[in-house]
């Protein structure tokens, strides 16, 4: 079993839901972003997702996109980023660190070199512009035990879900119907297929989606629905293994710095 999978399963023994938080490397500065990560890890976040910024993050919403563009002004280097977060991963062995980025920055070293650079310390990788059809590109990573974390979406057909679950390692990243990060879950749902559904049935719908995915796989399910509040999180309990919170922290940071991040953390962990 993949190390990330067993980590999550272990943690889940006594926690109904793990928290996976997201930080953009280099935003607002490299140092500050490392401080944010440290704060999260200090507060016991189980999984940290570090996004190495790319100039054209097509799968991200405005909050993360803006953070990426700002971060790029710091001239971040992927190699340095990996060194920095590997160090963190080693400092916080009770948590796991994942790398998230887009294809083009990752292509520069190439996946063989990337696997080497990520080594033992980075547990998985998320590449939102790479679909399951290209899974072979990531063989160097999975061969090194680094889990390529594939995305699941609500309107995936059964055979496509099967195609993903056949390849999947570590966990699955189940996203909301809205393509980009940082959208309010209920807003998003209501402007889409569930347009007339009240909030309650939107939730039901989301739970149905996760239950459906569950039929295809025993891997842990991580869910990113634009989760913002403790209420959002409690709705996931019993349906998912990991709640992914991204833009909410960025928004908090933008409003109130590290302290606001800490407050948001304790709110969500309550």
């Amino acid at each position: 079993m993949n190390k990330l999978t067993s980590f999550i399963q272990n943690q889940r023994q006594n926690k109904p839901l793990l928290l996976m938080t997201h930080v953009v490397y280099g935003y607002p500065t490299i140092e500050k972003s490392l401080e944010i990560m440290q704060l999260m890890l200090d507060n016991g976040v189980e999984i940290l997702e570090v996004q190495f910024p790319f100039s054209d993050p097509v799968a991200d919403g405005p909050t993360i996109t803006n953070a990426c563009h700002h971060a790029l002004e710091q001239n971040p280097k992927l190699t340095q980023c990996l060194q920095d977060i590997k160090k963190l991963a080693r400092q916080y062995p009770q948590s796991r660190v994942l790398l998230m980025s887009y294809l083009n920055p990752l292509l520069q070293p190439g996946f063989t070199s990337l696997a080497q650079q990520m080594g033992e310390d980075i547990s998985g990788i998320i590449i939102p512009d790479l679909s399951i059809d290209h899974h072979a590109m990531l063989d160097p990573l999975s061969n090194s035990g680094i889990a390529p974390i594939w995305l699941i979406t609500p309107d995936m057909k059964a055979d496509r879900i099967r195609k993903v679950t056949e390849q999947a390692q570590g966990m699955l990243y189940c996203v909301s119907r809205s393509g980009v990060t940082g959208q309010k879950s209920t807003d998003q749902l209501s402007t889409n297929q569930l347009s007339t559904a009240p909030k309650a049935s939107a939730l039901e719908n989301m739970q149905g989606y996760l239950n459906n995915v569950r039929q295809f796989t025993s891997l842990p399910l991580a869910v990113g629905f634009g989760i913002n509040t403790a209420e959002d999180i409690s709705a996931l309990k019993g349906h998912a293994d990991v709640a992914i919170v991204g833009s909410a922290f960025l928004n908090a940071f933008n409003k109130g710095g590290l302290e606001a991040v800490a407050r948001k953390l304790s709110e969500l962990q309550a």
Partner: protein
């Protein structure tokens, strides 16, 4: 193109999973439509009765005489409705969107030409239309925005990144990710994930098909060389593709801009910053730094400063079937003036790149050779840029007076 939409090492589909099914739906609908003679006929008919095709092949007696080399012809895409070749593509895709039962189209635009063309087709077909445009481009190209609004389109300013085309494209992809059920994403050039490069090039190929017929009719053979400016690459693909495999030499002209320095041009060939990359849904040559970050671009013409290029052209160039060259901002203004003054054709600044490329080489050719230059669009739209480049004082005074009267 093989099944994955690859052209050699370029092309393909690198899109968020959320777009998978809508892309599959598009692929299928596109293949179906291409196998439906009635649809092909509908596209053809709309190109004719709405956009005025065929566009003529115009002989340039004066420039030919002045240069004393090859016989110079222009393929007049400037005479299309909306004033550019962009119309060919939006007609094809607009009808496809309609066929797919979509009620809304979205588009990204840089200079605004594709935005206007999309808004036109949306008005024509009764579709809603949202156009993403970099806030910076909106400022520079407001007249086009004005027309989009008059045509009933919603223009959404994109403020992320450099707030230009690249960012508008990202934003359009994001919209599509959450709206694909009723929304068709109408890409404006031969880029993006499959099937867009093939599809756009296909709808644009009417240009080259017409040149085949017209050149045979007007001078008894295919042209010896064909020149087209290359932004995303759609007008170049359109005029080139029907000639691949023939004896015609195909020359793409990129925006040489101010210099070879990063950010000063949009040369996706023959510069250090131009390397293989994967972004915005597909693999091609992108202008990028060592970290793989896409680079800012510059050109005197707003329509050529795209950071990537059609995967079809990247592949053809690699195979030696297309030759890529460039023209600097200064050369482009010279070419613009020559064509305007000596032939009475006012080219778009984009197209003036092709003119620069063609005139540069025509002189060294022999009078029994024939070249065709793609005039992808007309220059009226560029009055603000051209007046500035030429330092035309009365234009400034005109604007000042206009504003004064405005405020009365």
């Amino acid at each position: 193109m093989n099944d994955e939409g690859r052209f050699g090492q370029y092309g393909g589909s690198y899109i968020p999973e959320i777009l998978y099914s809508s892309q599959q739906q598009l692929l299928k609908a596109y293949r179906d439509a291409m196998n439906d003679a009635a649809f092909i006929q509908l596209v053809k008919s709309e190109m004719q009765t709405f956009s005025g095709r065929p566009t003529p092949l115009t002989y340039c007696a004066n420039l030919t005489k002045m240069l004393g080399g090859a016989q110079i012809y222009l393929k007049r895409e400037d005479l299309n409705h909306s004033g550019a070749h962009k119309m060919n593509n939006v007609i094809g895709q607009g009808l496809l969107a309609k066929r797919m039962g979509k009620t809304r189209i979205i588009a990204e635009t840089g200079a605004g030409q594709h935005g206007v063309a999309s808004a036109i087709v949306a008005a024509r077909l009764g579709l809603e239309c949202t156009v993403y445009m970099g806030a910076h481009d909106i400022e520079r190209q407001y007249p086009n925005v004005f027309w989009m609004k008059q045509l009933g389109a919603t223009v959404v300013p994109v403020t992320t990144g450099a707030a230009t085309l690249k960012d508008a494209l990202d934003e359009a992809l994001r919209d599509w990710s959450s709206s694909y059920e009723d929304t068709y994403y109408l890409i404006g050039t031969s880029c993006g994930c499959a099937p867009y490069p093939e599809m756009v090039a296909g709808f644009q190929s009417v240009i080259g098909e017409e040149v085949k017929e017209q050149s045979t009719q007007q001078f008894g053979k295919y042209p010896d060389r064909i020149y087209a400016c290359v932004g995303g690459g759609s007008n170049a693909c359109g005029i080139f593709l029907p000639f691949v495999g023939s004896d015609a030499e195909l020359i793409g002209v990129e925006a040489g801009g101010r210099s070879d320095a990063p950010g000063d041009h949009a040369m996706r060939f023959h510069t250090d910053q131009a390397r293989f990359g994967i972004a915005q849904g597909f693999a091609t040559k992108f202008l990028q730094d060592e970290e793989g970050q896409l680079q800012p671009t510059h050109s005197i013409s707003a329509g050529l400063d795209y950071v990537g290029v059609s995967p079809i052209l990247a592949d053809l160039e690699e195979q030696g079937k297309v030759r890529m060259t460039s023209a600097s901002d200064i050369e482009v203004m010279e070419a613009f003036k020559l064509l305007t003054r000596h032939e009475g054709v006012i080219p778009a600044l984009e197209s003036a790149h092709a003119v620069a490329g063609g005139l540069r080489e025509a002189a060294g050719m022999s009078p029994d050779q024939h070249i065709v230059i793609s005039i992808s669009g007309r220059g009226d739209k560029d009055i603000f840029n051209i007046a500035k480049a030429l330092d035309d004082e009365p234009f400034t005074e005109f604007l000042q007076t206009y504003l004064k009267e405005e405020s009365v």
